[in-house]
């Protein structure tokens, strides 16, 4: 279940990470945010981001254009 969505399509590094961080700050523990972006670098960056902060990267889908991350807040 997704509690919040964030569309970062068209934005380059580091904006998807920054906006995700800001959105997560307003959410409660265990809530899930779905981030959509087109920045190819974010595929690795979101893993590192979640790894550093203890958030759970529930899923990562890549349809060749858009990348969709589901992240559960720590």
């Amino acid at each position: 279940m997704v509690d919040q969505t964030l569309d970062m399509c068209g934005y380059a590094c580091p904006m998807p990470i920054l906006k995700t961080k800001q959105a997560l700050a307003k959410m409660n523990t265990d809530e899930v945010i779905e981030v959509t972006c087109t920045d190819q670098g974010s595929k690795k960056d979101f893993k590192a981001f979640c790894n550093q902060l203890g958030h759970k990267l529930l899923s990562q889908k890549d349809d060749g254009n858009k990348i969709i991350f589901n992240i559960q807040k720590n």
Binding site: G10, Y11, A12, C13, P14, M15, I17, L18, T20, K21, Q22, T38, D39, A48, F49, Q52, L53
Partner: protein
């Protein structure tokens, strides 16, 4: 202290292109839960001025800077003019301004945030900025020229902060 959650950046360059790395890394550091301090020294002081609209790129000082047009048909955009234009061309008045405009357009086309936007995110997220007092005096800046909420100090203050941090980047 390999796991210290502190990070520092020394920002020493004052061109538009080199303004990006300190702000990108500082804001990302904060986003990843670190405490971040950016020490702005020499030309890096420019990054803390209230008005950032004067920041330019210097094609003459960067002969390897790819020079591709941000408009026109695909084949045209693929041409790298840096390999075709003699460096003396950049001495012509107005050419640096033109190149800066093209770079800004390229940034925008690629979804990059503006420097103003990135800086205000850094400030909002709590990046600490230190303006180097010595270079300030040398270049004739006054405290009023800079944005609010920054610290004015010197090398010893920076090194004291860096002593506790585990990632220190010189840009």
């Amino acid at each position: 202290m390999p796991n210290s959650k502190e990070m520092t950046v020394i920002a020493s360059k004052g061109t538009l292109d080199w303004a990006y790395p300190p702000f990108i890394l500082a804001s990302t550091g904060i986003a990843m839960g670190k405490e971040v301090t950016v020490f702005c020294t020499f030309y890096g002081l420019n990054l803390l001025l209230k008005d950032l609209s004067h920041l330019r790129i210097s094609p003459q000082g960067n002969p390897d800077m790819p020079m591709k047009m941000p408009f026109g048909p695909k084949w045209f955009q693929a041409i790298d003019f840096s390999q075709k234009i003699p460096n003396i061309f950049w001495n012509i008045p107005g050419m640096e301004f033109f190149a800066t405009r093209m770079m800004l357009k390229t940034f925008k086309n690629n979804g990059m945030a503006s420097i103003e936007e990135l800086r205000s995110i850094c400030v909002e997220m709590g990046v600490k900025f230190i303006a180097c007092e010595m270079t300030m005096g040398m270049f004739g800046f006054s405290r009023d020229d800079f944005i609010e909420g920054i610290e004015f100090a010197g090398a010893a203050t920076y090194l004291d902060v860096a002593d506790k941090s585990s990632q220190d980047l010189f840009i």
